[in-house]
């Protein structure tokens, strides 16, 4: 039986998410201090409603929360056999797998967020669709794009949950054309960036530059890739995934499915928890899922140990 640490992506952020983390915990205190030293600003100024309106601060907050969560688990002896981060979560995963240092990751993530939010000022975004497989959505997108502004499959989250990206008006036409015969749910998301498609190629190229000058360490924990859905075992493949990820479909359904086939049965979602656990529950009904949020680290450790004793390979 193997364990995965899941690192959530954009959409999971919550106002006050860093305030919620108990600063009396020496692990939290240490990571926060490190973050303040690098960013040169107080951690508690990052998770306000005002700051979280900016993609850059959302991504920074998610990185900090992910790293804090994993280190709290490590302090309790909870170990991961695999890590997987959704979109921006991949950076926290890269820190925890030992490829990137926290110090390297923070400015990179801030830059990624800034580049993304500056790429498309208005009229672009993303939409969530429920009810169709990725293959079918892609088929309909190919048809749609013959006559409309191009839209893209941005995330394949579960078998029947997809996210698309592109111009909002074009996405709306697409959703209307499918209608309720195919879709059980469709929603334009409150996001101004058309992520995970070729519209962000320039951001990917910029990130590639920045990553190319960074010295990376070989991973101590294998990572599930965003853009290939494969397992990454080397620093170089993680490097490629970190910049390619921003402009390619997030193959989350494949990534988590692969980890399951490799023996993963316990999935722990770092703070802020909920989104990835729900997806895991839907894709892998046999898997045990544990949220870090609203749980004490020792409770999570206890649960983890009891699941490990339970689930015989």
């Amino acid at each position: 039986m193997k364990t995965v640490f899941l690192f959530p992506g954009q959409g999971s952020q919550k106002v006050g998410m860093l305030h919620k983390m108990w600063a009396g915990d020496p692990v939290v205190k240490k990571v926060f201090a490190e973050a303040e030293q690098i960013l040169e600003m107080p951690v508690y100024s990052l998770d306000t409603a005002g700051k979280l309106a900016s993609t850059a601060y959302v991504q920074v907050c998610l990185l900090i929360a992910g790293v804090v969560s994993a280190r709290r688990l490590a302090a309790q002896g909870v170990q991961a056999d695999f890590v997987a981060g959704h979109s921006i979560g991949a950076f926290a995963a890269a820190v925890v797998s030992g490829v990137l240092s926290f110090k390297q990751a923070l400015p990179l993530v801030y830059a990624r967020g800034m580049l993304m939010q500056q790429a498309y000022p208005e009229g672009y975004g993303m939409a969530a669709l429920v009810g169709l497989t990725a293959a079918r959505v892609q088929l309909y997108i190919n048809e749609h794009n013959k006559t409309h502004s191009a839209i893209y499959l941005a995330n394949n989250n579960t078998e029947d949950q997809q996210v698309i990206a592109g111009r909002i008006d074009s996405m709306q036409v697409f959703i209307d054309s499918l209608g309720s015969a195919w879709l059980t749910k469709a929603k334009i998301l409150d996001l101004s960036v058309p992520s995970h498609c070729e519209l962000l190629n320039s951001v990917a190229a910029d990130l590639k530059e920045r990553l190319s000058v960074i010295e990376l360490n070989e991973p101590i924990i294998p990572t599930a890739s965003n853009h290939t859905g494969r397992l990454l075992r080397t620093a170089e493949t993680v490097r490629t995934d970190l910049w390619m990820g921003v402009a390619n479909t997030v193959k989350w359904y494949d990534a988590t499915g692969l980890l399951y086939e490799l023996g993963a049965r316990v999935f722990i979602e770092m703070e802020p928890s909920g989104v990835l656990i729900k997806m895991t529950g839907s894709s892998l009904p046999d898997a045990k899922v544990i949220p870090m949020e609203n749980n004490r680290a020792d409770t999570v450790a206890w649960l983890w140990n009891s699941y490990r004793a339970d689930v015989v390979e």
């Binding site: 497989t133 015969a181 059980t184 494949d254 499915g257 692969l258 490799l262």
Partner: protein, 545 residues
Amino acid sequence: MSTISWTTKREGKAGRIRSLAHLADGVVLKQENLVEAMESLLRPGDRVVLEGDNQKQASFLSKALTQLDPSKVNKLHMVISSISRAEHLDIFEKGIAELIDFSFAGPQSLRVSQMLEDGILKIGGVHTYLELYGRLFIDLIPNVALVAAEKADRHGNLYTGPNTEDTPAIVEATAFKDGIVIVQVNQIVDELPRIDIPASWIDFVVETSEPYQLEPLFTRDPKLISELQILIAMLTIRGVYEKHGVRSLNHGIGFNTAAIELLLPTYGEKLGLKGKIATNWVLNPHPTLIPAIESGWVETVHCFGGEVGMEQYVAARPDVFFTGKDGTLRSNRAFAQVAGQYAVDMFVGSTLQIDEKANSSTVVSGRLAGFGGAPNMGHDPHGRRHSSAAWLDLMTSKDPLAKGRKLVVQTVETFGSGQTPVFVESLDAIEVGKKAGLATAPVMIYGDDVSHVVTEEGVAYVYKAQGEEERKQALAAVAGVTPVGRKSTAENIRSLRERGIVAFPEDLGVQRTEARRSLLAAKNIQDLVEWSGDLYNPPAKFKNW
């Protein structure tokens, strides 16, 4: 006189066995010497059958394979019924194996697809079980077989017991063509309960510190059966079993057929059908069949494999099940597949997608899973000639040479999980097959073999439809509000119903309101245990009371 040697394989085998004589005590190999022994036995490019179906796995031997040195053993051609364990594919990543033939890959289907795409493995073929077993005797003859048994004696006789499954077919193809047979056994004993496979077919046995892996695959908790599934079960009982008087049959693994099993002693009893339908089965020991057996519905059951927890129950019902002199079940997957293909009148199963011509597949979302035995059971063997009332009842022609037809029944809800329509215009399998470079699309059951499709809307007697257009109409008539179903018109439906090509619940005397969970003979696993008189001992993960 010819100077050609006709005994090269025999001599080759003798040479290989001599090379590890120092590691073996007679036929007994020590667990700690296994990897070394396998390295001297196996040659690059060998064809190796590794026993593993959807239930029983030679798990110790598959782990040992991953430890081989790829500089000594490589390019293996693996033949595995069911790719179920991570090691089955790890040996490709490690460069020990390169080619694979298989039937089913459900638990590792994503990795199979990815590794195929990445060029890490090559696929010989995705077969049905019977094709795979058959080819072991034709052009996939093994050099080495790695199999599992419960017990062996010091001579190498084997007791495979309730989970005999694939072992006899694999061992026979290997042993009688000068291949080498290695068996992992849970225990070496002085005296076996019975001999399932004789020692003269076996080369080596290894007693392992952990038992072989065994999955309880056919246990369905009645708690999870929905009222929609109960309605479909009622329609199937009335519109298919009763209408055609079907006595011999196979059921798939899903909740739809579990519901049928649990309705026989209640709904079936009320209809006075006992002894008239569903008497002779080829089926694993499904726990959900216990109430029907206990109520006297079931005359015989022949099994593909065992089922965890059913051992004692089966042993106590030898009039129903096939058992040895020792009292325990004898299963045999190859014989059960033959029986399921040729000897029974009906297959009832389910699927994830079905197209307008009734072609169906469980391959969706790019996972290359294969279908195991479903295509064997789920087709009409055209060479069949033994006539039964049910088979003859499907004869639609007055031609003097007309023949009957096997019933191949698909029972599906019109929408699957996550509200995905089950009825589609074209199968996702087509794209998956193209992407994987398969010669044919991975269809589970071909539309022209399907005789009936049952949904919560009604029964489509597709075997009666004349021509492709009418066949499509019949399917659309039961496809509900899926995009396929919306193509049907009131006029078409009226005509199809009048001509008996489609039947709605009211045409069959089925009350939708009667489809309640209270109709199930057992509502949960605990009820099944009670029905069995405490003989059924469910695995821990199903003991939820």
